[in-house]
């Protein structure tokens, strides 16, 4: 095995090996005019657009690092882009902090970086600055990514959970539960006939589609950890308006439903990485759904409920019952029987 096949603590030492790693791999794979300057801080003035500035940060810890439908690199860029996009911002720039564990194969690092580069290109964002640290084996599962994202909110776009009003419609851009179920299946090694893929994807176009079809859109969120149920509860709590959801209207893939049923999990609580929940005025809802369905990432879009009544989320079940849909408490654990 060549000495450069795996990451060692020496790659984080600040010496020649680190220099080779940063310039020979990381900066090469992520190359763009801003990053290529390789100065201590990046001059991003060329990226500045008219509008209000939006900024976000996120850290990405996922096992396994590579899973059906994506990997930690795709996830880091998509996750950050999506946080900007659901605020109505056009994402323009990212920073990328790499915390690499001793023992990670350099080829795995390169693979994750290539996903970062590709996803950034798809989303139209530039990786402008970065940092690399190497830590001892066994403390973080190979690789952790941290990002900051920068975007610009055009004039006239005003989104926020507090803007939700009685009578508004709630729209989801597609099936729920795909990401977390894919991770679960990959991590636990369940043998199933069909591959369940993560929905991990940048949603800048989906968000833009919603804003174009519904100029009066009140709020958008990406229902990541805690899933749709938790996001709806956040929207209700912030706005002080209740939300009622039709269970039968919420799109869930059959294979996701099967796996979650067997484990005793609820897809409504499972993380998504490529979906948007939008609250829009009722008369704009159908137009949003039609527009979303013309996009690859919005094919299963649906109106799933409406806002109104006292705060809290109510689920109308498939058999016609009603029950509160609460936030996720702790983590979901596989049941005994």
């Amino acid at each position: 095995m060549k000495s450069n096949d795996t990451i060692t603590l020496a790659h984080g030492s600040g010496g020649r090996l680190m220099h080779e790693l940063v310039e020979g791999l990381i900066a090469r794979v992520l190359s763009n005019p801003v990053l290529d300057e390789l100065d201590d801080a990046a001059d991003v003035s060329g990226l500045v657009e008219p509008g209000r500035l939006a900024v976000t940060t996120d850290s990405f810890v996922v096992q396994p690092l590579f899973f059906p439908g994506g990997d930690i690199g795709t996830l880091a860029v998509a996750g950050t882009v999506n946080d900007l996009a659901v605020k109505g911002a056009r994402p323009v720039a990212l920073t990328l902090g790499l915390i690499v564990e001793e023992g990670l194969a350099v080829s795995d690092l390169e693979r994750a970086l290539r996903s970062v580069a590709e996803t950034a290109k798809t989303a139209g964002v530039v990786v402008t600055a970065g940092d690399t640290k190497v830590v001892e084996r066994g403390c973080l599962g190979g690789l952790v990514l941290n990002t900051a994202g920068l975007g610009f909110i055009p004039e006239g776009v005003e989104l926020g959970a507090a803007r939700v009003r009685d009578g508004d419609a709630v729209v989801i851009s597609g099936t729920v539960g795909d990401h977390e179920t894919a991770i679960l299946v990959a991590r636990e090694g369940f043998e199933i006939d069909e591959t369940i893929e993560s929905d991990c994807a940048p949603l800048h176009e989906i968000a833009a589609t919603i804003l174009t079809a519904a100029p009066g859109a009140r709020a958008m969120r990406d229902p990541t950890r805690g899933g749709l149920a938790t996001t709806l509860n956040e929207l209700s709590a912030r706005s002080g308006v209740g939300i009622e959801i039709e269970e039968a209207a919420v799109p869930v893939r059959r294979e996701v439903r099967s796996v979650t049923d067997i484990l005793g999990f609820d897809p409504l609580f499972m993380a998504n990485e490529g979906k948007v929940v939008a609250v829009v005025p009722a008369d704009e809802a159908e137009r949003v759904v039609e527009a979303l369905r013309t996009h690859d990432l919005g094919r299963d879009a649906a109106v799933i409920g409406r806002a109104g009544g006292p705060p809290g989320v109510t689920l109308r079940t498939r058999v016609g019952g009603a029950r509160p849909l609460l936030m996720l408490e702790g983590v979901q654990l596989p049941r005994i029987c």
Binding site: R257, G264, L315, G320, G321, R323, R335, I336
Partner: protein, 371 residues
């Protein structure tokens, strides 16, 4: 897991409306039906079935959640095992957060113990063969549904000569519990929704004594909302017959999975691995012949004996009425601690601890109605 199951057919359809209408026709006075299966408890809550049936029909949750009925002393034993440096505790996820007298497996893991969540007892045998220097202890909780898979795993460990795997056999048996429940004074109970999974192993015949001798109607029911509504209709029809002088019987709504004699292979696995013994049910007390011990040939796989861990007798929390709830005397909302001092985040009693417990399900799915 190999084949994906399609549950949709049992979940949707115009039948729901018809079944709900039939339930409303059949309830003509105070009636109490009890399910004794955590999966039923959760399914009833999740589908909002209580919001569809008349108030006179009380749907009670009996001692059907394996976590709820596991005594505190047994939880403490598993924590004691996890604290041993050469022991790996392998467990189903539900057990992680269950508090013992002073800790939980989740807390022990955070403090450095080797506790792993597995989805099958066979995973424990696999771990044992991969890590021969460690003792892999599997926590055997559950009813007749889970015990055959644990039996199979133990026999597999014997066959493959994997010495370093053992089990805490904390299993409970459903029919003795039902027979016990019908003898409880002051209980209001008109019928049992019997658990579909358990019954697929032991067979519907296992409930004959409850129906025939105690005169309580039994309907073996599946787990989809339509299954449960159909089971309730069948039970209510029997209750009406019994009230007008007819005899109680065992019926099976879940005939797509349950036969009268059950699953002979699974039953013989159980016979080979376990002997029946009296067992302690948390919140209820001792029920004769309602648990398992390992058979003589497998006694060397008993984790408590192998590690020398005694069962302490800790005090139950004060003010908790989980016992009365599981016996059908009270509802979760009757408990003064419910939703205030006792919540899923900070549970006091066993029924709030497990996600399948009656109080946790009530909190999660029906809290707003009851407050």
């Amino acid at each position: 897991m190999k084949e994906l199951l399609d549950f949709e057919a049992f979940r949707e359809g115009p039948e729901a409306e018809g079944l709900v209408r039939r339930v409303r026709e059949l309830v003509d006075g105070p009636t109490a039906l009890m399910e004794v299966c955590g999966t039923h408890t959760v399914a009833i809550g999740r589908a909002g079935i209580r919001s569809l049936v008349p108030e006179e029909l009380r749907l009670l949750s009996g001692p059907g959640c394996p976590v709820c009925v596991t005594p505190l002393g047994e939880i403490d034993q598993t924590i004691e095992a996890a604290r041993r440096p050469d022991v790996t505790v392998a467990t189903f996820g539900d057990m992680m957060r269950v508090p013992g007298s002073e800790s939980s497996l989740e807390r022990e893991r955070a403090a450095g113990a080797d506790v792993r969540v597995v989805t099958s007892a066979l995973d424990a045998v696999k771990l044992a063969s991969e890590e021969p220097s460690r003792e892999i202890v599997f926590i055997g909780v559950g009813f007749e549904t889970t015990s055959p898979t644990v039996a199979a795993a133990l026999l597999e460990a014997e066959r493959r000569d994997v010495p370093n795997v053992s089990v805490f056999p904390f299993f409970k048996l459903v029919p003795p519990a039902l027979e016990f429940l019908v003898g409880v004074p002051d209980r209001a109970l008109d019928g049992f929704l019997c658990p579909g999974h358990v019954s697929s192993i032991i067979g519907s015949n296992a409930y004959e004594p409850v129906a025939r001798e105690a005169g309580i109607p039994c309907v073996v029911t599946g787990f989809e909302p339509l299954d449960i509504l159909a089971g309730i209709v069948m039970l209510l029809e029997q209750v009406r017959d019994v009230r007008s002088g007819g005899a109680a019987r065992v019926e099976t709504q879940y005939s797509r999975a349950v036969r009268p004699e059950g699953n002979p292979t699974a039953r013989s696995l159980l016979d080979e691995t376990f002997d029946t013994a009296d067992a302690e049910w948390r919140g209820i007390g001792a029920i004769p012949a309602s648990g398992y011990v390992l058979s003589q040939d497998l006694m060397h796989r008993d984790a408590a004996a192998k590690l020398g861990i005694e069962r302490p007798e800790p005090a139950e929390p004060e003010g908790c009425i989980c016992g009365a709830i599981m016996l059908g005397r009270k509802l979760p909302g009757d408990c003064p601690l419910f939703g205030t001092d006792c919540t899923p985040r900070d549970p006091v009693g066993p029924c709030m601890v497990s996600s399948e417990g009656s109080c946790a399900a009530h909190f999660r799915y029906e809290h707003r109605r009851s407050t």
